[in-house]
Symmetry: C2
Subunit: 328 residues, 2 copies
Amino acid sequence: MHIAIIGAAGMIGRKLTARLIADGGLGSRQITRLTLVDVIEPPLPRGFTGKVKARARDLSAPGAAEKIIARRPDVIFHLAAIVSGEAELDFDKGYRINLDGTRQLFEAIRAVHAEDGYRPRVVFTSSCAVFGSPFPTPIPDDFHLTPLTSYGTQKAISELLLADYTRRGIFDGIGIRLPTICIRPGKPNRAASGFFSGILREPLIGQEAVLPVPEDVRHWHASPRSAVGFLIHGATIDLTPVGADRSLSMPGVSATVGEQIEALRRIAGDKAVKLIRREPDELVMRIVAGWAQGFTATRARELGFVAENSFDEIIQVHIEDELEGRIA
Amino acid sequence: MHIAIIGAAGMIGRKLTARLIADGGLGSRQITRLTLVDVIEPPLPRGFTGKVKARARDLSAPGAAEKIIARRPDVIFHLAAIVSGEAELDFDKGYRINLDGTRQLFEAIRAVHAEDGYRPRVVFTSSCAVFGSPFPTPIPDDFHLTPLTSYGTQKAISELLLADYTRRGIFDGIGIRLPTICIRPGKPNRAASGFFSGILREPLIGQEAVLPVPEDVRHWHASPRSAVGFLIHGATIDLTPVGADRSLSMPGVSATVGEQIEALRRIAGDKAVKLIRREPDELVMRIVAGWAQGFTATRARELGFVAENSFDEIIQVHIEDELEGRIA
């Protein structure tokens, strides 16, 4: 089977590629061809014996989507997006990539569908940012989408398009609303959500981390491994029971920063916790105050989507997947 | 003040124009200029002493939105849309007018806003079609949008854009989710919802009407007069209390077809009711089964939006506004 990953150079894209190659197949089918696309050329994966193409393409550029669809991938993972902060700063770029790029992809599929009935599985990564306060905790599956950022708006619109194209039989789509991914590997970044990972990731390698919010801030998390698992599960299950509402809030762990820190203490001791430096930041506090604290994720759980059950598990996954089992 | 009505040749557009001219102003301000736009040239209204331009324009054509915005209307009523049935049959046309046209209007405002801070009020007509079954009855204000038509999808997307452009301060927008308008004046049409009006309108003038569904079918209605009232109220009230979620389900009358018929009997007698001919239509039944039966409309009511309280009132409005007070 032929799998295309759009946004293959990103953190989730690279982990998804690696997992697909390690698995050798998707569901019961062998993977014979991989098309990897991103705005920068994705790295050529190792250990894959099938055909692979890695291409630098801007999904919103004329003809880019058509080129990806030309070889009729059976499954398309659409992970590409301008992130929240950048989409808020650059109105045009956010709408161009996150809305027009997505629509051009869907239109490219529609054109081939009209020719010969081509109908791939489309797995689209959406986000908790489609929700905005005020909301109940946990947020139920039938709660309205009230994004408070342009990024969230673009994701919510893409979800609506995904549902309509699916309803019309153009493709078989599923939207995966990812929790905040924790622990995000790599260097500290300037995303407002960065500290949720940083206060664990840095101390686990003996480095200092900054905590800009109080310990009672509660948020919704899942590991990178779970995120990849959601995507693969979404690509393989029968979507008939999903019905018309094609986007699902994924399961995760609802935890306060204090609970995160206690999990770190259990796993890495007081010396790790001592590396967390409190440095309150009003702006980050204000941004984070509008974020979801938890979801029932009932529909997703019933469909077999699984995340971690505790922050201890989330930390253990990081130690296994990123630190070769060793902590400082 | 300068008011633009896009979709001015439609039934609601013409009634809105007439009402604005009869009132002479909007809120406390006098209307000095009217810009009336539709795909066909709207009729020049009588009795208006200010400046008026009536133009045939396709909102989705290049430059059309810019022309409407060039003279900086203070209030823009955006009523233009390809209707549900046509948007379902013609995928491209529906998305072009209902989504791209709306977005081009918003973008034209953004361009002028960027120049000099222009920030008009935008009153957008949305629809109950943004909801799809299964849903609770009545539908609460925080229920998710799960449109089951491309039309509903396009309206839901436009609502999201309206909210984002408003949040960014580009304009001050409000989305008015209209109930099914009843009694729609004019000739019988082929809309699936047409019978809700037809079974009252035709008998009131001594003509036969066809009822394609059982009498226990329940739906959500308001008069054309109420619809115009919603738009004018939305154009004049302070929208600060509306918050980030800028589209509101309007109040209306939740009634079964049987209740409609009993109201007709009270007002026009058995001889009117006898003009309703039962002719079950499986297709219409199936379409209507997916429609909303009622809304709490709590937010809209708290903001002062008002509809009829009974079907008797809805019929009386029709007799006053369309039949000069006389029935057959």
